[in-house]
Subunit: 336 residues, 2 copies
Amino acid sequence: MTDQIITLDYGSGGKLTNQLIRSLFLKYFNNSILNQLHDGAILPQTKKRIAFSTDSYTVSPLFFNGGNIGDLAIHGTVNDLAMCGAIPKYFSVSFLIEEGVTLQTLEQITCSMAEASRRTGVEIVTGDTKVVNKGDIDGIFINTTGIGFIDNDVHIHPGSAQVNDVIIVNGPIGNHGISILASRENLQLEENVISDTAPLAELVQEMLSVTKEIHVLRDPTRGGLATALNEIAQSSQVEIEVLEEKIPIDTMVRDTCKILGYDPLYLANEGKLIAFLPEQFAEKALRRMRGNKLGEQATIIGRVIASGRAEVFLKTDIGGKRLLGMLSGEQLPRIC
Amino acid sequence: MTDQIITLDYGSGGKLTNQLIRSLFLKYFNNSILNQLHDGAILPQTKKRIAFSTDSYTVSPLFFNGGNIGDLAIHGTVNDLAMCGAIPKYFSVSFLIEEGVTLQTLEQITCSMAEASRRTGVEIVTGDTKVVNKGDIDGIFINTTGIGFIDNDVHIHPGSAQVNDVIIVNGPIGNHGISILASRENLQLEENVISDTAPLAELVQEMLSVTKEIHVLRDPTRGGLATALNEIAQSSQVEIEVLEEKIPIDTMVRDTCKILGYDPLYLANEGKLIAFLPEQFAEKALRRMRGNKLGEQATIIGRVIASGRAEVFLKTDIGGKRLLGMLSGEQLPRIC
């Protein structure tokens, strides 16, 4: 079926929709709940709190250095659940497809989603497919919505940052933003910048095995590190100080930003987290994180210095101190 | 803010996204879970099974006779959960917005979603907003994903239809399809056809108060009544017979179909359900349904006549019998 293209009939809800579901989605996503083909998925009872998160993915181009819209759509929602301290479990997937997309493209993306789900222990249990006329959408957009379960002793919340908390990031920032930009604009970089798209749920569980006293977790996606820190400062009403020299940034990302006039602190990441926790647990958490491939370069970048005022300061390499605001304006549309 | 338009900055994840969330979404959807602004919503424990369903809405035009994309997006997912016998409870909402849409339009839609949620007892607890370049999407698309809870003694399933089950529909079919068509093509009908968009969860709970022995529920949306019956026939491996004269169709819908060459059995509905249940409960269920505004015209349209073969037959008004297939091809794109 690889030469075929998606026509409007595939989204009619009739014969071809049915065929697409059976030959593609059931084949790749295969599990006992999805296979029921009910109007909704029926999930077993649980005694845990439920984490519930949604994201629509519109990344352009569909395929980029390090991933594609399919695995990105799984990782992104896995990460949102992980930032609640949850173990991601059940996903819905909704495809919006432009008439004329090839079945081969859709199959590649579906296959990536299936692989990413398997690696993260997630089951895709329900879905939806809409096909719209050529020109009514650009290519393929995907919504994933996820359910995860939270252990009773975990209480992570953006409003829980406390004075003297240290702030950890799990690795270098800005790679996803520059990777998409390079793919989109056909930039010939000296060295390829690869998106950091990755699922963070396992890393978070490892951190929680060190201490349940993690106060805040956040994945700095759109808006980047600076915006995520500002959101936490606002939710917790605290003053944050980060040290420029401590923020890990790969050389190629740094150089590309300089040439093109981007600030890496505002670039999107898709496999990064920032954690706020009491200093006493920091060293042990860092050691544990560095044992995980996704935390090898984990490091402390700053701390909460006061409460009562929502502000984020950057101590610069040359000893200055400047206020770091939220992203204003748009750096790169359709980055995720 | 009604004169303003949505620019890419509103989807950046930065300042304007934050402002949009606070001034629009928190204002209308206001509830204690959403107000946390966590990466995901944290929902309390439950002892019931969870129903989980997703749908992306692409209806064109955004506003039509009887509703708009906003209430449609709530009703549609409410209905998918209701067809599992669930009581809908928590929703995620994800907006895809074309740069240039007015804030007024977005506010009208948001307001309709809030009203529809309140009427159905649903809380919108988490969300996402993406803005894409002009031309990358046509207007506004919305994904809603819902969580509902199922009582322990309810076991509704598309594969549970049994021989001698009667088939009930809650009212006339095809109104949504013709309403959208009329709005889209500016048809001047003698009498306006109004979409049947409505939430069916309450009606379903009333039916379940008569008997838990409802075997199958399905809302015949895209693909219409004929396609829904075929899906059930396939899942349950049964032969179904419906009587043409018993299927309620409003005169204006019937006449418009005749003129334009549409078959009402394949037109989309957004406030209709078909129920399969043992004959012994049918009269009592019908009486109960007719006491609900959404079931006033509820009637028996057919029955399951044999098992082992998945087929749907229509006994026509003139005494003939013909095989009723699934929708093949596309009647109307972007109908929901």
